[in-house]
């Protein structure tokens, strides 16, 4: 069920990791990671702090190069992959340099389109239309001319999603998307992500340390703690068994009661 005719066939993969190792200087972070994420999937990556979750995302985004092993994006070796506008990325919102930055919602959402437009080229009508559409989808159109510093955490989160959507990506990668976002906004956020996955066929990969949310929202789960602990369907995820492997003891301490 993929409405976008230019997409590769639904049977092909979005992301593949083959025997991927990664180390910072001499500190090993990832060891022998193998997995494959298919089109239309909704994957939650779960793991404790320092388990290498963000590193996995950064490798997918081409921001970090694996020490060894191979990564494929949309079936192509990442070293030759050029169409990074197919991948939307929403980083941890606390890491955004948004504090005091004098930019409007619209100016920020437009940045999502810049790589697609290309250097030294101006925005065309279809670019403005994509920006409008992204703001519409995320429900922030009424804030278009507001400064981002005047928004709440949840509203700002939607701005960053709109920015990712403005490039009309095939895959959306989110890193701890709801940290610092209040509960009603979180629910609104997951409803939006579900809609993007189910109605628009967008592949979703998101990182969280929140087990409840991951098991509830995603279709499949990747458990990571420097190595791949498990890659299972959410319904088959048996907390006690996997969590013990993941955290090295009973997982009760980290179960949040949302």
């Amino acid at each position: 069920m993929n409405p976008n005719p230019t997409s590769p066939s639904p049977s092909s993969s979005c992301v593949e990791f083959h025997r991927v190792n990664f180390q910072y200087d001499s500190t090993p972070v990832l060891h022998d990671i193998n997995f494959r994420i298919d089109f239309g999937d909704y994957v939650g990556i779960l793991g404790p702090n320092g388990s290498g979750k963000t590193t996995v995302l950064k490798i997918m985004l081409g921001l970090l190069k694996p020490t060894s092993g191979m990564v494929k994006l949309f079936g192509e070796d990442i070293n030759y992959f050029k169409d990074f506008s197919w991948i939307g990325y929403v980083s941890q919102w606390v890491s955004h340099s948004g504090w005091g930055f004098p930019a409007t919602v619209q100016e920020v959402v437009r940045t999502g389109r810049i790589a697609k437009v290309g250097i030294l080229r101006r925005f065309q009508p279809e670019d403005y239309a994509a920006v409008e559409q992204a703001m519409e989808t995320t429900g922030i159109r009424q804030f278009a001319n507001r400064l981002i510093t005047q928004l709440s955490g949840g509203e700002r989160q939607r701005v960053f999603i709109a920015r990712a959507l403005a490039a009309q990506p095939k895959m959306l990668i989110l890193d701890e998307p709801t940290v610092g976002v209040d509960l009603p906004s979180q629910e609104q956020f997951y409803t939006l992500i579900r809609k993007l996955n189910e109605e628009m066929g967008m592949t979703i990969i998101f990182v969280s340390h929140d087990i409840d949310v991951i098991t509830h929202e995603s279709k499949n789960i990747l458990c990571l703690n420097r190595e791949l602990i498990c890659h299972v369907a959410s319904k088959d995820f048996i907390s006690s068994e996997h969590l013990e492997k993941l955290y090295g003891r009973k997982g009760k301490y980290i179960l949040h009661g949302h």
Partner: protein, 266 residues
């Protein structure tokens, strides 16, 4: 009309001043939002070392100042991107280091005189025809590049990591920004003075940020503030015989104070 325009040097000062008044906040806006405000000051001190080299070797000080500032800008950006030294420590290193070099070279060139004072605080009488042609040519290059790469520079300033993930050439853009800052600083030196260039690049921008409603708006207001500051500064400087750099920055400072009073009415 006004006797101020009877003199060629005043006309040169007004043209050069206009170019600098536009370039400084153009670059300054990106520096301020990236927490690079001290970059301008650092490069200005490096430019002074360049001036000293020029006086010592009897070459055009503006040329040696541009070369020194650009070389330092590349060095600073390289050191900063390795992340082995904190960003602001790199700036402190270059700021005081180049001031020391300037002091040594200037004493060798026996340059501690009135001439030096004009480099430190700016002087309207010192823009030569050669200076003017360099300022106008390079000033136009700076403005054109900033406008042409506006959307990319905005993106990199707002979210460097995402810009990189989107395939933008982030390191090249960062390098370009600091090189353009270096050129602007060296150009502005004659009129605003080494010690006050930083102020002209930063104060109009933070003034604009108090009242602006978008990034573009910030840049436009900053340029307007800077133009008014430079021109009224030049007038006061001429009629009251004051150092032009100081006068310009004091006017800019007044604007800032007014802007904090007006603030944003949301």
């Amino acid at each position: 009309m006004l006797d101020i325009f009877q003199f060629d040097f005043m006309i040169r000062a007004f043209i050069a001043g206009g170019v600098i008044a536009i370039c400084a906040p153009f670059i300054g806006t990106f520096l301020v939002v990236r927490r690079y405000s001290l970059m301008a000051d650092t490069l200005a001190h490096v430019a002074l070392a360049g001036v000293a080299v020029g006086l010592l070797t009897k070459t055009q000080p503006i040329v040696t100042a541009i070369i020194a500032a650009v070389v330092a800008a590349i060095g600073i950006e390289r050191l900063r991107s390795t992340k082995r030294i904190f960003g602001e420590s790199v700036l402190a290193l270059f700021l005081s280091g180049s001031l020391a070099i300037a002091a040594v070279l200037l004493s060798l060139a026996k340059g501690f005189n009135v001439n030096l004072f004009s480099f430190l605080f700016g002087s309207i009488a010192t823009v030569t025809p050669t200076d003017l042609s360099i300022i106008v040519t390079l000033g136009i290059v700076v403005c054109v590049l900033i406008l042409a790469l506006y959307k990319e520079l905005f993106f990199v300033s707002f979210d460097e990591e995402l810009a990189k993930a989107n395939g933008l050439r982030v390191r090249m853009l960062n390098m370009l920004l600091v090189i353009l800052a270096a050129v602007t600083v060296a150009l502005a030196m004659r009129i605003v003075g080494v010690l006050l260039i930083g102020a002209l690049m930063v104060i109009p921008v933070i003034t604009a940020m108090q009242v602006a409603r978008s990034f573009l708006h910030t840049m436009v207001i900053a340029v307007m503030v800077s133009l008014v500051a430079v021109y009224s500064g030049l007038f006061f400087s001429y009629y009251l015989d004051l150092a032009s750099g100081g006068t310009i920055v004091v006017v800019a400072l007044l604007f800032f104070i007014i802007s904090t009073v007006i603030q944003k009415r949301v």
